[in-house]
């Protein structure tokens, strides 16, 4: 495998991470923990499969994924903001709910407990798996663009300023008339829609939905956010790093050089190291996780 193939493979793996991490940064910067990114992705992946299957067009799948991810995120937002439920608990519940709902509707719609039938994806016949296939997939372009876009929104627009204020010092934002609750709802809903796109990429790329197909990718995205110290660009770079490690692992699989399980651990170990402040303190938004009652 040459360097170009390596790069193509890395990008291919990184796209869902980038999308989920970009969404997650918005949510976390607004003060809401992104524990349920995994659930948004899974919901998005399933909705994309359903949409693409019935409409016969991947674009409808993409739209469905945005709706599906967004709905799960809204449920999270309502629980955490309106009902002041513990964000960690609700985040986990949303993940379990996504697993349950996708399994249930997989049975209901496709009468299977493991996977959907083949669904249309974006690539053309004979485009292969290299750069051509990547270039033909609009979700790849969205995934590449999403990090700069989120960074621009966060640092250059009034909405981004408000998101940062709300996640850092909500009382101060409130005192100058920023609608804290509304900003948080919007940020979380956006995070679900964008992470849902990451899920759509997975099912459309593999031409089917399979049970629990996100396989912890939402948590890798969360790890990238923390490792990137809640900055979208740094989080994006962390996604690329993690994806490169994974590509390397696939490369090494035949060689027995390093057991694949150790490469698998890299993102998680790096995140713990970052959290423990061994490579500089990871500074979370001050109000992160604090919508809870008392």
């Amino acid at each position: 495998m040459n360097a170009l193939d390596f790069l193509a493979q890395t990008v291919r793996i990184a796209i869902p991470y980038l999308l989920a991490a970009a969404g997650g940064v918005l949510s976390e910067r607004a003060g809401l923990i992104g524990l349920s990114l995994e659930g948004y992705m899974l919901g998005g992946a399933f909705c994309a499969a359903v949409g693409s299957y019935y409409a016969g067009a991947p674009w409808m799948g993409v739209l469905a994924a945005i709706v599906g991810g967004g709905m799960l995120a809204l449920l999270y937002a309502v629980s955490a903001i309106r009902f002041k439920a513990d964000q960690v608990v609700v985040g986990i519940a949303i993940n379990l709910l996504a697993i349950g709902l996708t399994r249930f509707f997989l049975r209901l719609i496709f009468d299977s407990s493991s996977n959907s039938p083949r669904i249309p994806g974006f690539e053309l016949k004979g485009s292969g798996t290299g750069f051509l296939a990547l270039a033909l997939n609009p979700l790849v372009w969205i995934g590449i663009a999403v990090i700069p876009v989120v960074s621009w929104v966060l640092y250059r627009t009034p909405f981004g300023l408000r998101v940062r204020a709300v996640g850092e010092h909500p009382a101060a934002a409130e005192s100058v008339g920023v609608p804290v609750v509304r900003v948080r709802y919007i940020a979380v809903a956006l995070s679900g829609m964008i992470a849902g796109l990451g899920g759509a990429y997975l099912s459309l790329d593999q031409h089917q939905f399979t049970d629990q197909m996100t396989a912890g990718r939402g948590f890798i995205a969360l790890a990238a956010i923390i490792f990137g110290r809640w900055d979208p660009v740094r989080a994006g770079l962390a996604c690329l790093l993690f994806a490169a490690a994974e590509t390397l692992q696939i490369q090494l699989q035949g060689t027995q050089l390093i057991p694949s399980q150790f490469v698998e651990m890299i993102p998680y170990v790096l995140t713990i190291v970052a959290l423990a402040g061994i490579v500089g303190r990871a500074a979370a938004p001050a109000a992160l996780g604090k919508t809870t009652a008392e």
Binding site: V89, A93, L96, G100, F262, E264, M265, I272, A293
Partner: protein
């Protein structure tokens, strides 16, 4: 505020949550074109209605009691242990290794303390890591335990597949001695179910934890830390020590839960046996309001749901149960603050 209202605030949310879950369940059943009454009747018959089903409920509840107690202990200290799954797996793995080290032919009851020690050590070490990182560096235990789940499971996967597995399987060789009896060996109607003697250990652990939390000085300090960290500091509680000790103990309890599968049921460690039990432990602790007695009840409830899913699979997909479990967690999490708020409003009204 009186004792009655304290109890109301503790007990009402889970009841509200179960009602919500029942409604959601009805809707799902109706979407599948079945009658809710029939499905729930079948669910009960397949779980508490026959010895085999009940045995399975007991077996599943046993693991959940351990992970539920582990999460509950952490929460009492104000710490969120999301790593129960990997602690459970590590405990089971260590117990299986211990079983390989023992010579054959030792009576099971003599082996048991050795297994408990090995499992507690395995889970306890995994729990102590986030505890120490929190106490020493202030690293948030939620993220660390999540990340550790992946790390530890990958490590166990490596150790099993590269070092100790039986060829062509994902499990270790069987214990040389110490395999415990199953319930079916003693009471024949339970034959075939996985329920085993570890259930007694689960109940003993729940009682011991209740005693520890509410009767000992360490428990007094641990709960004070969980309720009001600054007051605990004022009261001379060594916050760092209590923090890491609580998480290590939490991990050890989850680790001992691994015996249910490894020593009581299959007699070997297998990849993925712990899958999902950590997250369900959170649900169990939440519904059980972090009280050992409540946790035992909640473990039975979730075990019933999980086994009941299999029982109703002919009418509605068993996956419905996955949805209901998530709905219960969501509903408890949202109704705890809400019920408290509403109760306080109504109390204020009735006072004025």
């Amino acid at each position: 505020m009186s004792r009655r209202t304290v109890i109301e605030e503790a007990v009402l949310p889970p009841i509200v949550a179960l009602l919500i879950a029942a409604v959601v369940g009805d809707v799902l059943i109706l979407t599948f074109g079945q009658s809710p009454g029939a499905v729930f009747r079948l669910l009960l018959e397949g779980t508490w209605g026959n010895a085999y089903g009940f045995g399975q409920v007991l077996y599943k509840a046993t693991t959940l009691v351990f992970t539920g107690l582990a999460v509950g202990l952490g929460l009492r200290a104000g710490l969120f242990n999301i790593g129960a799954e990997s602690q459970l797996a590590a405990g089971g793995f260590c117990a299986a290794l211990a079983g390989l080290l023992l010579p054959a032919g030792i009576p099971a009851l003599l082996c048991l303390p050795f297994f408990i020690l090995a499992a507690a050590l395995g889970g306890g070490v995994v729990g102590a890591v986030p505890g120490i990182l929190k106490a020493r560096f202030g690293a948030h235990e939620v993220i660390v335990t999540i990340m550790l789940n992946f790390i530890v499971l990958a490590l166990l996967n490596y150790l099993t597949s590269a070092k100790v597995h039986v060829p062509d399987t994902l499990h270790t060789p069987e214990l040389k001695s110490g395999a415990l009896w199953r319930l079916g060996d003693v009471m024949s109607p339970f034959h075939g179910s996985a329920a085993n003697a570890i259930i007694l250990l689960a109940i003993a652990t729940a009682i011991a934890l209740g005693w520890y939390l509410f009767r000992t000085r360490q428990g007094f300090e641990l709960r004070a830390l969980g309720l009001q960290a600054r007051a605990a500091e004022y009261a001379g509680v060594n916050v760092a020590r209590v923090t890491w000790r609580a998480l290590a103990m939490s991990g050890a309890i989850a680790g001992i839960g691994g015996l249910n599968y490894v020593i009581g049921y299959k007699h070997y460690y297998e990849e993925g046996f712990a899958s999902g039990a950590g997250f369900l432990g959170i649900a169990v602790a939440l519904v059980g309001r972090n009280h050992p007695a409540g946790i035992v009840v909640a473990a039975l409830l979730f075990a019933t749901l999980s086994q009941g899913g299999l029982a109703v699979n002919a009418l509605v997909p068993k996956q419905m149960v996955d949805v209901l479990q998530a709905v219960v967690i969501l509903a408890v999490a949202t109704s705890v603050p809400e019920v408290r708020r509403l109760l306080r409003i109504s109390r204020r009204r009735s006072e004025s």
